[in-house]
């Protein structure tokens, strides 16, 4: 592994001062050290931010939940308030990676997770994300795992996170801190589409640090009398410890048989955590039944652009949506969250 300087940040301010294009912050290190070993990331300096006081989860007066940047994926998934009010997030977190990696990985690190595109990870391949202007070897290469939605001529790399798919459905705000002070960014705006600048992966300046992630108030808070249900379904090549081929995060409120509120986000098929807003709108007011679910799935994949090897993911994603909607509906009728395993 190539050499770099190492230092420890004592405060958020001092961390931000260190931040520049040559510097990488390390928290869990699961993405960073993997990619430095592959020579894909080449920081001249690494700043350890683990001593910063960003490890708490707190309920805000308006009902939202504020999560410190350094809360680990394991601790967040098992946090009592997350399990109670955001079981979708807990399920998604536990569907990601392995026990060991979740113990290391942090909330902010997951937001900054980088794509698993094998051409991005191989410095011998052309990749516009890793080296702007070099081309994209995935487009005419082995693209079975690549994106159906949100791709461009320059990049079809899939966003790999499970946590972020749940966040797209739940809604959240990031707090960023830099030399100019604090600012907030809506989660939906944090990850841009690749367009012709796939190397720009997030709205975070080099001298800024993510300090917190604040979840929108739970859906049930808006409609306390509605029956709410959620489900995260992840379909993959093996039953555990694998990235998604397609995943669906669903939150539903039901009033009797009708859907009064719907959230739907997709993973494994898009270049960013993908909220399917039109499909959500098509669900509201409809009966919670198969025909509505299938229609929503058709709408969600309407703009899919399959490549040579990933056309099967169009059907797979639709099936993931239908099943997740069905399981969330069942959960709502049972008055809670579907904890029943619904594996592929």
């Amino acid at each position: 592994m190539r050499a770099f300087d190492f230092s420890r940040a004592e405060s958020v301010g001092s961390a931000a001062q260190h931040g520049n294009a040559e510097t990488a912050f390390v928290a869990g290190g699961t993405t960073l050290l993997d990619l430095v070993k592959l020579d894909v990331m080449r920081p001249a300096a690494v700043v350890d931010i683990n001593a910063l006081p960003l490890k708490t989860v707190e309920r805000l007066a308006d009902g939202r939940l504020r999560i410190g940047a350094l809360v680990t994926n394991t601790d967040l998934a098992h946090h009592p308030e997350v399990k109670r009010d955001y079981p979708l997030l807990s399920q998604a977190l536990l569907a990601g990676a392995s026990t060991q990696l979740r113990n290391m990985a942090t909330t902010a690190g997951n937001l900054m997770q980088r794509t698993r595109c094998p051409y991005f990870r191989d410095v011998g391949s052309a990749c516009n994300k890793r080296q702007p202007g070099s081309g994209c070897d995935a487009r005419d290469g082995i693209n079975r795992m690549h994106a159906l939605l949100g791709g461009s001529a320059d990049c079809i790399a899939v966003h790999p996170s499970d946590m972020c798919v749940a966040l797209a459905a739940i809604g959240a705000t990031l707090t960023l801190e830099g030399p100019a002070g604090e600012r907030e960014v809506a989660f939906a705006d944090f990850h841009p589409l690749p367009g012709d600048t796939p190397h720009i992966e997030h709205d975070l300046a080099a001298d800024e640090l993510i300090t917190a992630l604040t979840l929108d108030a739970p859906l049930t808070l808006d409609a306390p009398l509605a029956r709410a249900g959620s489900h995260y379904l992840k379909l993959r090549d093996r039953a555990s410890y694998e990235f998604a081929l397609a995943s669906a995060a669903v939150q539903l409120n039901l009033d009797g048989e009708r859907i009064t509120e719907a959230r739907l986000a997709l993973g494994g098929v898009a270049t960013k955590p993908w909220r399917a807003s039109e499909a959500e709108a098509a669900l509201v007011g409809r009966p919670a039944e198969l025909a509505s679910f299938e229609r929503a799935a058709e709408i969600a994949l309407r703009d899919a652009r399959p490549l040579a090897h990933n056309a099967f993911k169009v059907d797979l994603a639709k099936q993931a949506i239908v099943r997740a909607l069905r399981d969330a509906t069942r959960a709502a009728r049972q008055g809670g969250t579907d904890t029943q395993e619904s594996q592929a």
């Binding site: 050499a3 770099f4 050290l33 350890d48 098992h78 113990n103 410890y241 395993e341």
Partner: protein, 184 residues
């Protein structure tokens, strides 16, 4: 950070300055000098001569390097040694106590939970961590899920699961006995 031209390594050819790091390793305090980019796995194996922790993929995909950091299972290949400052690190060499194998080690032996043995230290470190973690369920499905970060290419999974559940029973018996001894 991605453009070749900007990023020739800053000091290739010159020896990197080392950093001092202090942590507890298998219950013994240690202090050593490490390179800033040295990962815990390599420090354990190369610098400290503790070869029990294995290098498989070196990218967090196989679990052969699993150790405990402050009681939690982690991939030693993806952790800088300097990041362990002030922490408690346990390797497979630290499982046995006073010459007696840990119940998980005993059950791996009794259940024939390995063939080549290369993944076994990592498997046992994940197993001991999950048996101590009340957040992880005790049924077979929960154990399999919690163990999915440890790959066994010999395919000894069935016996590994049996060994873990047997160790769980042994540990529960031991706890009951200790509680019994405590009552007059």
């Amino acid at each position: 950070m991605m453009d070749d031209s900007v990023h020739s390594p800053t000091r290739r050819g010159t020896p990197a300055p080392t950093l001092n790091v202090n942590f507890t390793l298998n219950q013994q305090p240690i202090s050593l000098e490490v390179a800033p980019n040295a990962v815990l796995l390599d420090v354990l194996r190369e610098q400290l001569g503790l070869g029990g922790t294995k290098k498989g993929c070196d990218h967090g995909q196989c679990g052969a390097c699993t150790v405990h950091v402050d009681g939690q299972a982690m991939n030693a290949c993806l952790r800088l040694a300097v990041m362990c400052e002030g922490q408690h690190v346990t390797t497979v060499e630290g499982l046995a106590r006073e010459g007696e194998l840990h119940p998980v080690q005993q059950s791996f032996l009794a259940c024939d939970a390995f063939q080549c043995g290369y993944c076994t230290p990592g498997q046992m470190m994940s197993a001991t961590a999950l048996l101590n973690d009340a957040r992880i369920g005790s049924d077979d499905a929960a154990v399999k899920e919690a163990m999915s970060g440890n790959i066994c290419r010999c395919g000894a999974y069935k016996n590994i699961l049996t060994a873990i559940q047997q160790a769980r029973a042994t540990l529960a018996d031991d706890a009951t006995r200790r509680a019994g001894e405590g009552t007059p």
